[in-house]
Symmetry: C2
Amino acid sequence: MGRACPPCSFGKPPMSLAHVILGLLQHQERTGYDLKTECFDDGMSHLWPADQAQIYRTLDKLESQGSITCTVEIQHDRPNRKVYRITQAGEAELTHWLQTHHPLPVLREPLLVQLYFAAQLPNEAIVYLLEQELEARQEKLAQCETIEALSLSHPTASREQELHQLVLDLVKQREQTYLDCLEQAIRAVHRLSDRNNP
Amino acid sequence: MGRACPPCSFGKPPMSLAHVILGLLQHQERTGYDLKTECFDDGMSHLWPADQAQIYRTLDKLESQGSITCTVEIQHDRPNRKVYRITQAGEAELTHWLQTHHPLPVLREPLLVQLYFAAQLPNEAIVYLLEQELEARQEKLAQCETIEALSLSHPTASREQELHQLVLDLVKQREQTYLDCLEQAIRAVHRLSDRNNP
DNA sequence: ATCCTATATATGACTAATCATATAGTAGCA
DNA sequence: TGCTACTATATGATTAGTCATATATAGGAT
């Protein structure tokens, strides 16, 4: 049943974090620590936040499936580093994944559920909820603006950097839309009939 | 340490599905099967899709924590039904949750990752990827429109229905924004420098 | 002398969610 | 007669992700 595919993972589920890591390693060899501090805590944070534990475990998985290799750099003043590099198999895997359409991620927003069941709350309580969300969203947009500053300081706009900028713009636009929606929702709740209130 | 709180779950993590179920049961008593077929497969699908197995396990948890009770209705032509009702403790829990601000859900979009690492692909391949996503998003928006039809057929706009309509509008607007962003991204990729191409 | 931070990897425990499968009776259809 | 669909609940296995904690060393601050 199905085609045999021992050393690669085609046909298997998404494993998106694995492919993010492949994408990062393709650009430059790195350790798990590098990935965490230089990538996932920084430019990747708005795109694909990742936990340290999950990064290390994914590196193990990628190595055991042959998509990356590892060499240990012995350090005497500090703990040894395990430096990972992408293999040819890993590059093929990445290229394939980059061209494959993946199912839309499911977005579950607690706020919308709250709004859905909010009939028992007075309008002010609902507005308060929306305002708290608005604040959190504003903070998040502000974080995105920070990333932009770093990106713009690089004047040479390579194809790669153009794409990074495009992604960042899309994320920022997404966040801005959330803000617009929330403000609109607040106005809508103000217009809500207040009958049947507790 | 911390305040003791034996029979309730205040202070614990989100458990959002549990609260969605509480919200649904507050309106009307239901079985797990009812919840799945009448709620989560229907009007709730765009808001909080839920797996059958998870629904049943969450019902168990809610019952054991005292937020809902269960009575078995014996049926002879069909399997027995376990009918769940919300308790006072459950209502208190729900009311509290409804008024609490919850952390923003993290959205990880494989497409944006693909775009981020797409420099090695020719522009046409990137556009193709975006067009596939566009198609999937159009389908999803079409599903949302279907739900609206059901909602509008109810002419009496109670406070509850107004809120349901508001939520649906927000979801639809979110989807429409995705479509706009994708079209914009496609135009941007067409303008992308094609240097450094494979 | 003590504490904190940075560097670096690893493991255990847990939640949320998904998928597959089991059980079991009725009813309709071909 | 067998096949499928509907009603109804339950469990096992697995993935993705999070949180906490362990280990170990160097260097700077208090």
